[in-house]
């Protein structure tokens, strides 16, 4: 479904990606793990058109979306949930969700308001509340829900657990499991490797802008190197 080939990206002389190839198939949840600054977010941002690559290609289904602008990429149904819970704070929860519909660009919605509220019931309770006044966990749910309103065929998630309390993280990941069960394809960037490997089918390990390892998440979780480097605390 998503095919990234030999992607190279650099910001002001510093190479963030040094030839990354990876793919995501329909219905899969794929995780990208690796240390801070390894290039996980750069890869995600290049796929969604925030960052333009030096070379390489990003194919989504039959189309080439390499270097397309961010709002053009959404037309294909590739939607990123950005890091750091970027809700539209001055707008209500409902208005945030309505803005999400912009990403449809005339495509048929895959999640209607009620479907989204079924996954995140708290948002229905808070629908008239200003998004900026929600708790961190609720804001994270809102940005995921907002992307769902845009009819994602591939959902890119950037660090959904960042800065959230453990009990909230498990709520968010329960919701992601529910979305996965409904057939949504997800590409997940996550620093918490344990969490990422538990939630995904396959994973790539990125270090210094290169893919170091890839494979089924279950196998990677048992891999001695991965265990030592990323699951040390377990």
């Amino acid at each position: 479904m998503l095919e990234v080939r030999d992607l190279k990206v650099s910001y002001s002389g510093i190479q963030a990606l040094r030839g990354v190839s990876m793919n995501v198939s329909s219905g899969e949840t794929v995780a990208l793990i690796g240390p801070n600054g390894a290039g996980k977010s750069s890869l995600l941002n290049t796929i969604s058109g925030i960052v333009r690559p030096e070379s390489g290609s990003v194919m989504f289904e039959a189309g080439d979306i390499t270097g397309a602008r961010a709002w053009v990429v959404t037309k294909a149904g590739v939607l990123q949930v950005p890091e750091g819970r970027k809700v539209f704070g001055e707008m209500t929860v409902l208005e945030n969700l309505q803005v999400g519909e912009t990403a449809l660009h005339g495509r048929a919605p895959t999640y209607r308001l009620q479907d989204v509220f079924d996954v995140f019931p708290i948002l229905q309770e808070r629908r008239e509340q200003r998004a900026g006044s929600l708790s961190g966990g609720q804001q994270q749910m809102l940005v995921i829900a907002r992307a769902l309103m845009g009819g994602p065929r591939l959902l890119l998630l950037d660090e959904p657990s960042l800065g959230l309390a453990p009990v909230i993280i498990s709520q968010v990941f329960d919701a992601l499991a529910e979305l996965k069960a409904q057939g949504l394809t997800i590409l997940l960037v996550e620093q918490n490797a344990h969490l990422a490997l538990t939630a995904s089918d396959r994973a790539y390990v990125i270090e210094q802008g290169r893919i170091m390892k890839s494979g089924a998440s279950m196998d990677l979780a048992k891999d001695p190197e991965v265990t030592a480097l990323y699951l040390g605390q377990e």
């Binding site: 925030i50 959404t74 939607l79 970027k86 539209f88 704070g89 001055e90 999400g100 845009g150």
Partner: protein
Amino acid sequence: MLAQQLLNGLVVSGVYALFSLGFTLVFGIQRILNLAHGAIFMTGAMVAFYTVKGGGPLWLGFILAILASGALSVLVEIVCFRRLRKTGDEEFGGIISSIGAGLVITTIAQQVSSTQVLRFPFETFPVVIFKFWGLRVSMLQLFMAGAAIILVLILGYYVYRTAFGRRIRAVTDNEHAAMLMGINPNFVYSQTYFLAGALAGAAGVLVGLAFNSITFLMGEPYLMFAFAIIILGGLGSIPGALLASLVFGMVQTLTIAYLPSGLTDTIIFASLFLILLVRPHGILGKEDAGNLRGRR
């Protein structure tokens, strides 16, 4: 007498509101002070004048003025700010570049009008005075108040009740996240500048009619007041700009009526300082309103 002054103040406030709403809207979305806004306002008045002079009806002049000012405002954004925004240094650069745009527009207007004061032909707007409850209200005043209220309501509806308005507010809030939701920010900017320019143009026509005096520099004092109004209301805040316009219009009218007229501006700006002492971010302002970096 007081009721009469309050009524006059309301009309003045309406004009200030039309002018400063666009100013604050643009600041809200791009953190840019568009100092060509006064020239755009003046362009509205000029377009209406030349339409009427050319034999067209006033309503046509009004519509053309709104369209031309809106289009000019969009042009200013594309020429002056769009490239500048990519450098990330648009706060200061934008001020300079918009001063330049304002100079270009006013100079063209100066040439076109041969530095003359232009006056609408007699009875362009019928002179009808209504008297009720001891008040004297001209039809022009009613028209000004009506037009201001209707345009403000249209703006409010557009920004707060439509999908387009939600996109404007989304980009105002967080451009990065808005882009990831499929919003093309450049398109949203164009819309916002069109709205801002159209409202300023409408205000220009109303002021041109009210004082029956149109000059290439007529926008400058309004720009100065709009500055004070959006700071008083809270930078980028639409309700704040409305409220501050009302305060300014009223204070100005009342000081002119009851105090030596030379004191008007002194009182207005002194009250601005006093209010800012108590509310440093304006009446309805947010603490981070001027913070460009924090928004990205």
